[in-house]
Symmetry: C2
Subunit: 351 residues, 2 copies
């Protein structure tokens, strides 16, 4: 009965998201969620916004949220674009700024959505291999690119690229858009937002799903000079399908304004990550230096897929990727100290 | 600086949504919002869901909401697709089910997003003129269509098509998808959902923005046989950008379950609409028979644009469209009795 499907639908390879099992008692370290609840101010703002005003359409410009993002990052609102999750922001970015005659360049090991978006929007792309230590070598991004995108820290490696290297890349590609996807930057990376004023080709994408504990609310944003933001607004407003809802605008704005809570929870995760790294190394794991809220680790004597299955027996869920360059690795979300302790205890029994 | 934009971005004509002015004291009858607040059970469910669990991603399948929609309409969950507003559901539908070698057919006077989606997704389309009285004549939808879509009641006319005509159309196009966009059906139209079991080519789209007073939450759905829903899920999951957030799932599910409140508020709007129609006719307006929460009316002696401007002076906002066939008309949302009374009072002064 798929005779009714369009050709593009037939040709799609659906993305398989990380498991969201509905089972109690699991230690869930597979989807890089924050182990701490959102800011109490965000919860309060959402409850206050849950009233009769929901009968009204939301502000299509999400003005309050853009202002809150601008306050936090010290940029004017015309340099801020907001969307339903950074995935949606990325989707608009692919259509609006990354689809050109020449191919889009991104690392061979990277966020798995990039090639999916290219397929969906008919964008030609080329993957640039990471170095053996998983580093992004900016000198490998030559002059043939129509545009460039990479996560920083990279996913699923957790490895961060320094601002000097990003500055070099931006200066070498003045006519190409360079998107730095900073979903994980708040856990030890350096944001490129301070470079926005200097580089008209730079777009930085962030999310409230990780460092602001709001994966359940679906809010992300991009920061870049006004002409890039105008291109994104043009794509968004040309179909206007997905304005942020009233509760998302209220909750996300309050979360952005609660810097003290943000700093405290990010620091807690960094502290736990450093301990987790040491504990994994003690068990013989090689751990990629992480600036994210996850670690990427392999054990010389155990295959990633085997460890994944064994951990599941112990009710601990982590993530494994089948790409040949990384199929020995596990990606482990940094949970609370207790959750990471449970992971280490399970691994001790398994190994 | 638009050198960074993609060609598609340069060529887009951005949609201009109805005004959402932030001015107190306006009588806002321009965007077809419900004048009554959402079900108290929906508010309560949202407040309960605003807790620490927001740190977790939502259920990507929105299982609870699909079940609630299924309960209300008496269909199994594999015949239900949900999205962030019916606009998003429509976007997925255009990509997944309406993009074919032959053109998509829809009325010349209809929801203004349809041609926009076609432009965005590269879908060839043909518009079929409505009859002089704005009726959709199903016999005009010949055999050259790749697929067919129309709103029922139609927008912005408010005129409803009967189920017999829809059945005729479905039977005449067994190999084409026919989408009935029922955003306004709960105010007096007949839903085509009972025909889903019989017609494998039928997809019905509805929204919680109008009859469930949840425009601010952004939730819509589609109902069709499982193979059509599978096509939509394939498009959605291939990029998985926009799962419904946790608050939307909770609030929308509770709203679907509160049938008594739904019936009561829909009936109140129908009663007000009938009075508004009579009052407009008394003032000399011709009013298209409406099965929606708005009326479409013109005055023989006053241009639509002039009345729009004059009403604005009286702090009453309605909608006007520049399409040559309908530029004499105003689209007036049915508000409360008080709001419609204020509109009539203003018109009496103007005329």
């Amino acid at each position: 009965m798929d005779k009714f499907w369009s050709d593009v639908t037939r040709q799609l390879t659906p993305y398989v998201p990380g498991e969201q099992p509905r089972i109690d008692g699991l230690v869930k370290l597979n989807t890089n969620e924050n182990p701490y609840p959102p800011s109490p101010r965000a919860i309060e703002a959402i409850r206050a916004a849950a009233d009769g005003a929901l009968r009204r359409y939301p502000d299509p410009d999400a003005t309050d949220l853009k202002a809150a993002v601008g306050r936090f990052h010290g940029v004017p609102v015309d340099q801020v674009f907001v969307g339903n999750s950074s995935d949606e922001v990325l989707a608009h970015t692919f259509v609006g700024l990354l689809k050109h005659d020449r191919p889009l360049f991104f690392p061979d090991i990277t966020y798995s959505f990039y090639p999916v978006y290219c397929g969906l929007y008919g964008i030609d792309y080329r993957t640039i291999p990471l170095a053996d230590d998983f580093a992004i070598r900016v000198e490998d991004y030559g002059q043939d690119a129509g545009a460039i995108i990479f996560p920083n820290p990279n996913a699923p490696t957790g490895l961060a690229l320094g601002l000097d290297a990003i500055r070099t890349l931006l200066a070498a590609h003045p006519d190409q858009v360079v998107v730095v996807d900073e979903a994980y930057v708040d856990f030890g990376g350096e944001t490129a937002i301070p470079l926005v004023a200097e580089f008209p080709n730079l777009l930085v994408v962030q999310t409230l799903s990780k460092s602001r504990s709001l994966a359940g609310l679906r809010v992300g944003y991009a920061i870049g000079q006004a002409h890039l933001i105008a291109g994104l607004e043009r794509v968004k407003s040309s179909f206007n399908s997905y304005p942020l809802d009233r509760l998302a605008i209220a909750g996300a704005s309050a979360a952005m304004d609660d810097k003290a809570y943000f700093d405290q929870t990010c620091q807690a995760i960094i502290t736990t990550r450093d301990q987790l790294t040491k504990d994994l190394q003690t068990l013989g794991f090689e751990v990629v230096p992480s600036a994210a809220n996850f670690v990427f680790a392999k054990h010389p004597a155990h295959a990633g897929a085997d460890l994944l299955a064994a951990l599941r027996e112990h009710k601990v869920i982590v993530r494994h990727f089948k790409h040949p360059r990384i199929d020995k690795y596990l990606r482990i979300t940094v949970g609370t100290d207790e959750e990471c302790g449970a992971l280490i205890a399970a691994l001790k029994q398994i190994l």
